[in-house]
């Protein structure tokens, strides 16, 4: 009796359910998501498995190759620091920068774009010209400048990188909001006496979430890459902390004597960037209405 009811019961459908169904068929995206989870777990737990600390110098193993018996599974760098622990640390910092900077850019971009699109008219005009202005500025130089001025402070680094990622997000959200404004359910909400902030939070933002999630997933690797570039130039995270970019820079200096110093962090960096891009592509197939 119950089994029959369960079978004949109403099939639930919805945006997220449909999206999940599409996503399930994208093998690469699923594999990439799985890889990311694995790498994140490794970055979180890995350092506790190793006998070494990320800033401990081991003078008996300098530029030593990967080996099991010494406990330096990924080898050591030119100061005798354990590369496994340092790679995990680098992963943590790179992932954190990617996520936090993206979260900041989503927060600013979505609210800015939704407000501009909803209010429209002169306010919209003014707000979007401000975005154009910021776009025209050489952003990378600003990040460099701020990194120098604030002495490579980690928090400032998060914020400045995030603060430059919201421009595209704001444009996307504004465009989506403009097209939503012509939909009658927004008009119906206004006719029901719903206030502007509530309409934005309850009716506009949930409906732009699809494209936002897609673009955010594709923003994460950009942010990671931007930070890696800074670190490569020596202006990113400060020693003895390290991001993947910084490790790659160190590795590049000892490319011939100790190729593992370049290949291991470089491999992780490539893997993370690729995985995020695959996940983003999969999510776009699943969530972006324009692809339907």
């Amino acid at each position: 009796m119950n089994a029959v009811a369960a079978v004949t019961g109403p099939v639930e459908r919805g945006l997220w359910r449909d999206a999940w169904r599409t996503l399930r068929t994208r093998r690469t995206a699923l594999a990439a998501a799985f890889t990311l989870l694995l790498i994140a777990a490794l970055a979180a737990l890995g350092p506790y498995l190793s006998p070494h600390r990320f800033d401990a110098l081991d003078y008996t193993h300098i530029l030593a190759g990967p080996a099991l018996e010494s406990g330096h599974w990924f080898g050591t760098d030119d100061l005798g620091r354990d590369l496994f622990v340092r790679s995990m640390l680098g992963l943590r910092i790179s992932l954190a920068i990617g996520l936090i900077a993206t979260a900041i850019s989503v927060l600013i971009g979505v609210s800015y774009g939704a407000v501009a699109g909803y209010l429209g008219g002169r306010v919209d005009e003014l707000m979007m010209r401000a975005v154009d202005l910021l776009f025209a500025m050489p952003q990378f130089f600003f990040v460099l400048l701020l990194a120098v001025v604030f002495d490579q402070n980690l928090i400032v680094l998060f914020v400045t990188i995030g603060a430059f990622g919201w421009l595209v997000m704001a444009r996307i959200v504004r465009g989506q909001t403009l097209s939503l404004m012509h939909r009658e359910f927004i008009e119906a909400a206004i006719a029901c006496g719903v206030s502007t902030p509530r309409i934005l939070a309850r009716h506009i933002v949930p409906n732009v979430l699809g494209p936002v999630i897609v673009y955010a997933t594709l923003t994460i690797p950009q942010m990671i890459l931007l930070e890696s570039l800074l670190s490569f130039l020596g202006l990113g995270v400060r020693e003895p902390l390290a991001s993947l970019g910084g490790l790659v820079a160190d590795g590049a200096a000892h490319m011939q004597a100790a190729p593992w110093m370049l290949l291991i962090p470089g491999g992780f960096l490539s893997l993370v960037l690729l995985a995020f891009n695959f996940v983003g592509d999969g999510l776009r197939d699943a969530l972006d209405p324009r692809e339907r």
Binding site: P10, R13, E184, F185, A188, C192, G193, R202
Partner: protein, 326 residues
């Protein structure tokens, strides 16, 4: 006589790249308490814009002048907060297309609760029982299941009932139904109209029905106003208007309704010509170009809306039909 809603000298203009277009011109319109008024006109005659303007829902390029008194408040000049307290609470609005007018991402229960939260500040349990009661009132069975469903899971007629339910949630004094049955097929149309009639019997609800379908008005309303090219051209009790239309346009509209007992050889009685371009409305009667009774006088001087001897109806025509003296 104090009426519930009194619209006076209402003008709605839209700024377009081709210049300013007048959509509604010098409209006076009132709804009494407990009264049902129909507003009939073809597409573009400005019938919807009157109420979109009154509720502050005009498109961005729209400009409005005149007054729309609701109680002791002028809806056109009061601030947004005052308007928000009235919209949804004291005036409910029902839109034509229930598919696009219900938020696609919210469950029925959430949409109904939103109205109650905004206006009543009700807690979720009270809101839910109120929502269930209102669904029952519009004859939606199995309300608990419906509350958990999304709009696309309901049929068109069901969605329209939900729209009506959400307009009725806060016990409004006035409900404005903009083409409430146009998107539905005829059997569902009949059910929805019956629902409106029932709601009117149960409470002293005032109702404005905006439609191009004169049959909708015939079975539901007390009074009808006919709009043409942004103006009201005739206003009368519904029976009188249907039996003896005075304005040639009203007459044409009624004659254009096909009848089942017409012979199949009888050609459709259409009103000849096209409505005038709203950007180029000129002096004189705007219907003159299409009117069989038009004279030189009609093209020169626009007829004012004037009451006839009975005092219950008005018409804006120099040569009205059925004039006993003429």
């Amino acid at each position: 006589m104090q009426r519930l809603l009194e619209i006076a000298a209402l003008n709605v203009r839209f700024a377009t790249p081709e210049g300013e277009v007048a959509a509604v011109r010098d409209v006076d319109f009132g709804v009494g308490a407990g009264e049902c008024v129909g507003l009939v006109g073809e597409s573009g005659s400005g019938k919807s814009q009157i109420f979109l303007a009154a509720l502050g829902l005009l498109a961005r390029n729209g400009r409005v002048s005149g007054t729309a008194r609701f109680g002791d408040l002028d809806l056109l000049t009061c601030d947004r907060a005052a308007l928000d307290r009235i919209r949804g609470a004291r005036v409910g609005m029902i839109f034509q297309d229930s598919m696009t007018s219900l938020a696609p991402h919210l469950k029925i229960g959430e949409q109904l609760a939103e109205v109650l939260e905004v206006h009543g500040g009700l807690g979720s349990r009270v809101a839910r029982s109120r929502a269930l009661a209102i669904l029952e009132r519009v004859h939606i069975g199995d309300g608990a299941t419906r509350l958990a469903q999304y709009p696309h899971e309901l049929s068109g007629g069901m969605r329209q009932r939900v729209m009506i339910a959400s307009a009725l949630l806060c016990d409004p004094e006035l409900v404005i139904a903009d083409e409430p049955t146009t998107a539905l097929d005829v059997t569902i149309q009949a059910q929805i109209l019956e629902l409106f009639r029932e709601l009117r019997r149960e409470s002293r609800l005032s109702l404005v029905v905006i439609t191009h379908d004169i049959a909708v008005v015939a079975g539901l309303c007390d009074r009808v106003a006919v709009m043409y090219a942004g103006r009201i051209v005739e206003e009368a009790p519904v029976g009188a208007l249907l039996r003896t239309p005075r304005h040639p346009y009203t007459h044409g509209l009624l004659a254009a309704v096909p009848r089942l007992d017409d012979s199949t050889d009888t050609p459709m009685q259409a009103v000849p010509g096209q409505p005038p371009n709203p950007a180029a409305w000129e002096a004189g009667c705007s219907f003159a170009e299409r009117c069989t009774r038009a004279s030189e006088h009609c093209r020169r001087e626009r007829p004012e809306l004037t009451a006839d001897g009975s005092g219950t109806r008005t018409v804006a025509c120099h040569h009205p039909l059925g004039e006993t003296r003429a």
